[in-house]
Symmetry: C2
Subunit: 468 residues, 2 copies
Amino acid sequence: MTLSSKPLFSTLGLVLFALTLFFTPPPLEITPKAWSLFTIFITAIVSILLNLLPIITASILAMTVAVFSGVMDPKEAYAGFSESFILLIVAAFLVSHAVHTSGLGKRLSLHIIRHFGHSTLGLGYSLIATDMLIAPAFPSNTARSGVLYPIAYGLAYDCGSKVADGTARRAGAYLMMTSMAGLTLSSGLWLTAMAVNPIGVHIAQTMGVEITFFSWLLASILPTAVAFITLPYVLYRIFSPELTATPHAPKMAVDALSTMGSRTRNEWITAGVFVGMLILWSLSGVFPIDKTAVAFGGLAILMLFRIFKVEDFKHQGEALSTLIWFAILFAMSTQLGQLGFMEAIAHHASGYLVGMPWGEVYLLLTLIYVLIHYFFVSQSAHLIALFGLFLTVAIHAGVPKELMAMMLLFATNFNAMITPQGSSANAIYLSSGYLTAREIYLYGGAVTALNFAIFVLIGTPWILFITR
Amino acid sequence: MTLSSKPLFSTLGLVLFALTLFFTPPPLEITPKAWSLFTIFITAIVSILLNLLPIITASILAMTVAVFSGVMDPKEAYAGFSESFILLIVAAFLVSHAVHTSGLGKRLSLHIIRHFGHSTLGLGYSLIATDMLIAPAFPSNTARSGVLYPIAYGLAYDCGSKVADGTARRAGAYLMMTSMAGLTLSSGLWLTAMAVNPIGVHIAQTMGVEITFFSWLLASILPTAVAFITLPYVLYRIFSPELTATPHAPKMAVDALSTMGSRTRNEWITAGVFVGMLILWSLSGVFPIDKTAVAFGGLAILMLFRIFKVEDFKHQGEALSTLIWFAILFAMSTQLGQLGFMEAIAHHASGYLVGMPWGEVYLLLTLIYVLIHYFFVSQSAHLIALFGLFLTVAIHAGVPKELMAMMLLFATNFNAMITPQGSSANAIYLSSGYLTAREIYLYGGAVTALNFAIFVLIGTPWILFITR
């Protein structure tokens, strides 16, 4: 009676790891409850990393253990299910299905292929470029992933890369991974490209750092540009698509477009809904428009016109499993934060910084801020919990406050891919089936390391130069 | 550009109905906000009743309208998604899939057919009898539906009645409807068969009515027995299965059982999980065991053993749509209740009762209590909002308090089928695909009417007799 075909050795190792943690007295000022929750959470994360359990199994199991052991109250454990931004993923995922079935996704992607489709690498660059251009009007990277995902899906599909027939690695996996990496950049490029950026700016202001839309852009543009040039290529080398050169693709796309003929009724309606959602989402920064209700509204219209049919729900179970694992991990991370776990680590770490030169303090704080994202589900929770704290410590240690503030704000965005749950935007790509959670840990980790290097090496002198 | 093929006339009528309500000034002491929410809610309900929209489309549309018009705060609109009892439906639905695929559901249903399978009617009776017998140990009818549903599903399946090939009405639809009707009886038979019963008993106690486990059973047993004999037969006449006499079924079941051979590993494990869940659910009344975590725990074990596979999620989208519509309607109903809508109606109605003989007051109050369930999603919310209020009014009007208390407690259970959302237990049957929301409105309404007649005509003299 084995746990399917997973290596027994790793399983035993993991159980031993969990038990060891469990019987270790909590270090620092961490409470026993927070330590137990951390043990459950980290065991789940490691089981995913080691490929022992799928993310959904690990999450459900962790939640059950947490509730039965009394570490989490049921109410807390289920709270994530009604989180607006998590439901936004679900609704965006369902809408993307209609974008695909209506033919609109295919048409959009054929147009992209017509212009940039000489190579899979070219498609990767064009996906990120699109993202960057629409980002300033999109105060939510989750919503933006809802726009980009169906296009990436269409591109993969048109490249003959499908999950169902085992050709995910032909082009789709690369395109999904690249688009996800693109979101870590587009969100940091513009002050308004991500819900939590303005909150960070506000916190920085209370500490005497003034950041405007343009001073943000000026600081971000150079390191982001370098990362934009680098990331698609590096992923292309380390997470290579099987399909590379596609010299005939643009011509084929033109043919396919003429074969498709003019837009159908369903395409027009879907395009209208899609543009409507885009407009409302971009206005949601200025007016009190609920982004999730926008997505559900779009879905409702598509359902009224039977472009998304009730029967279509039957095969949208991926959206359910995404909702479940994301809601669970989010609730656990939120609870860890509320129990003071991350703060305890941050406080302790900052104790070591006393007497260090500010350059080292700056580097270490940035590194810790990035790595601690392993414990956070969603970027907002991370920034709200730690940005102010880190900035305070840095200013006390003599780090130029503009530099530290900007770097931490960028890090909040560029570290988003360190885990599958690191950003709600990742979830929709994972739910596509083109990527595994483990691949996101590995290559998302690589993207994060690269982002870190680029932003520290190029961003640091650049920010010092422009703020001098 | 029509809204699919639905009759234009009804759609226009509905729009007119909604607009008329919207521009009518709120009656009674209802606030404008509550009135707007009621307009949205009732329009959605009527659109489902008239078969204009599927329940999921109507719910999403209603929620979007409510949020965009500012009638509902997004936070309130999404609150239902993290409701423990709604997530219990989702988890129970997923577990039932494993009960089916493991072969355990088939084996259980074959055993039932072997003994009671001479007719579809016999199967209907045996389903309710099983329910009644396990009910006292099950403080949640939602959890109980999670036990009964896979058995009903297996029975339907073994009768050659499947949703996919259009044979739902052969036997499955009848069995699902009957099992759902059974839950309206089993929940009222025992004080401990339904989460909200003890709360009602507690409220009654504060008004001087003492009810024990046995005095409850004594009062319920006669009307419940009559309803038990009546319901499966009446449904058999008005919602007839195509398959009726099956004289060879028991013999065939015996053969099928011997063909199946001994239990497989998967069956053993699933049976173990199922029994474990049963035990934990039955203990959840005594110990602080979270019923939803029990279901998720069962699912986690089934996933660890790959009896429920990660890939299986893909086709479990029905669970997602059930979660969405139930969570939305529940949130709307909760909000209506919090805005005082139901109370305003109840207060107003009780004004008419002044000076009436107590018999009429008793009858009218019971009737209103039953009919007002059209606005409630979940039985708990209904009882908590109105039971105390109705009992107070009745006692002032001279109705014997034991009689009124018992009848309202029974009504809380026997009215559960008046709408698809009337009880969380209904949701799992609806999600099966064997029934439409409209059929539940129609035949569930008939069952409620019948229950009302039986409990009033037989229950009233009986309760007066035993409490004299």
